[in-house]
Amino acid sequence: MSQFFTDAVQFLPILISGLGVTIAVTLAALVISVVLGLVWALMGISKNPVLRGISRVVINTVRGIPIIVQLFYVYFVLPELGVQLDAFVAGAIGLGIAYSVYQAENFRAGFSSVDPMLIEAAQALGMSERKIMLRVIMPLAVRVTLPPFGNTSVMLLKDSSIASTITVAELTRAGQLLAVSTFQNMSVYTLIALLYLAMSLPLTYLVGRLERRFARK
C-alpha cells in the first residue's frame, strides 16, 4: 500500500497531463458527434426519402464497423489519399464520426417523442418550420434526449482510450508508457482506473440531476 502512494506521487503528474489530453479529445469528439448526429437525425426525420435513405445507410455502416478500425482508417488510410492528420485530430474526428450515429439515435428518439398535435398547434398559430423546431420540438425533445445523451457521453469518455492505439498521448497511452518503463502495473492501472472514475461518476451524477430537474417541470 505504501508502495502505491509513493508511486502515486511520482506518476500522477504524468497521468494528469494524459488526463488533460483525454478531456480535450473527448470534448472535441463530442462536439463533432453532436453536430454530425443532428445532421443524421434531421435527415432521418426529413420528408425527403433520399435524405432518409442516406441517413439510414450512414448510421448502419458506421455502427457496423469497430471504432478501432475507424480510427485506423482515419489515421493510416487517409494519408495514402493525401489527407495527413496529426494523431489528436484523427482521434477526435474518428471518435466523433463513430459516436455521431449513437447521438443520432438519441436525437431521433427525442424528436419522435414530441406529440404531433403540439406541432399542429404551432402550425395553426402560423409558426414557421424553423420556429417550430426551435420553440416546440427542440425544448421538448431535449428532456427525452438528455439521459441517453449523458450515457453516450460517458461511453465516449471511456472509449477515448481507444485513441491510445493511434499514439494520442491521452490517459491510457500515458499510463501504458509508464507501466512498461517502471513495471509498476498494479499502481499505474489502478491510478488510471481511478482517474476515469473521477470523471465518469460526477458526469453520471450530473446527468441524473438534470434529468430530474426536467422531469419536474
Binding site: M117, A121, A124, G126, P139, L140
Partner: protein
C-alpha cells in the same frame, strides 16, 4: 368570410369529404354536427391547411387556401383543439403570448400583458404562472381559447372543444364560447353539444359519410329536421335510452 366550393378529400382509398360547399358570413356562428368519421373535423383542418384538400376550392376572405397563402390565412383563422394541445413546457401566459411574440413579432412585455388580460377574460387571472399539467381540462381549454384570441383572428375554428372534458367542466368552456359568439366572433364549431348548438349557433350543418346532409337555421334543423338521417341521429343523441 370562409367559403368552400365542391371540396373533396381522400385519405388513401377512403373519400372523407365529398363535394362540400358552404359559406360562412362574418359574425356567423355555425355548428357542424354528425356522427364520428363523417368528415366534420377534416373540414376544419382543411380550412386552415392542417390537411390539404384534393379538389374544389376553399377561400378565406376571398383568398384561396394554398401553400403560399397559408401564413396569411393562419393569421386570420385561429384554431381550438379537442385535446387543447397547449405547449407543456410553457406557462399558461407564455402559451397565450407565444403566437403574438414569435409569429406576429410583437414586443414581449406588451404581448405578455395582453396575454394576462386574455386569461382574465376567460376567468383564469390567477393561473398565469401555471403549467398546463397543473390545470384541469376545462382550464386548459380556456387557455387554448385565449391562445387563439391572442392572434386577433377574424374567425375561430373549434374542433370538438368539449369532447375531452369532464362533464362537470363542459359548462365553463361553453360559457366562454357563448360570450365570444355574443361579441360577434365568427365561429365554426364541430360539436356534439346539441343544446349549445341550438342556443348559440346561427346555422347548423349536419354531416354524414363525407356529405352535408342537411343545413339550415339551428333551431329549425335541431328541432324539426327535414331529413330522416338527421332525425335519427338527433333522436339517438338526445334520447340515448
Amino acid at each position: 368570410m370562409i367559403s368552400l366550393k365542391n371540396v373533396s378529400k381522400s385519405f388513401g382509398d377512403t373519400q372523407v369529404l365529398k363535394d362540400i360547399s358552404f359559406e360562412i358570413q362574418r359574425g356567423e356562428v355555425v355548428c357542424l354536427i354528425g356522427p364520428s368519421g363523417s368528415g366534420k373535423s377534416t373540414i376544419l383542418r382543411c380550412i386552415n391547411g392542417l390537411e390539404r384538400h384534393d379538389g374544389g376550392e376553399i377561400s378565406v376572405d376571398g383568398a384561396p387556401v394554398t401553400d403560399k397563402s397559408l401564413p396569411a390565412i393562419r393569421g386570420k383563422v385561429a384554431m381550438v383543439f379537442q385535446r387543447f394541445n397547449l405547449f407543456p413546457h410553457r406557462t399558461a401566459q407564455e402559451n397565450v403570448a407565444e403566437g403574438p411574440i414569435h409569429v406576429a413579432g410583437r414586443p414581449v412585455a406588451e404581448a405578455m400583458a395582453e396575454a394576462k388580460t386574455l386569461l382574465e377574460r376567460v376567468g383564469l387571472a390567477d393561473k398565469c404562472e401555471a403549467y398546463p399539467a397543473k390545470l384541469s381540462g376545462g382550464q386548459q381549454q380556456r387557455v387554448g381559447i385565449a391562445r387563439a384570441l391572442a392572434m386577433k383572428p377574424q374567425a375561430i375554428l373549434f374542433d370538438e372543444p368539449t369532447s375531452a372534458l369532464d362533464p362537470e367542466r363542459v359548462g365553463e368552456v361553453l360559457k366562454v364560447m357563448r360570450a365570444l359568439a355574443d361579441e360577434g366572433m365568427t365561429m365554426v364549431i364541430v360539436t356534439h353539444e346539441i343544446g349549445f348548438a341550438r342556443e348559440v349557433a346561427d346555422r347548423v350543418l349536419f354531416m354524414d359519410g363525407g356529405r352535408i346532409v342537411e343545413s339550415g337555421p339551428a333551431r329549425e334543423v335541431l328541432t324539426a329536421p327535414k331529413v330522416e338521417r338527421t332525425r335519427v341521429f338527433l333522436d339517438r343523441v338526445l334520447n340515448p335510452l
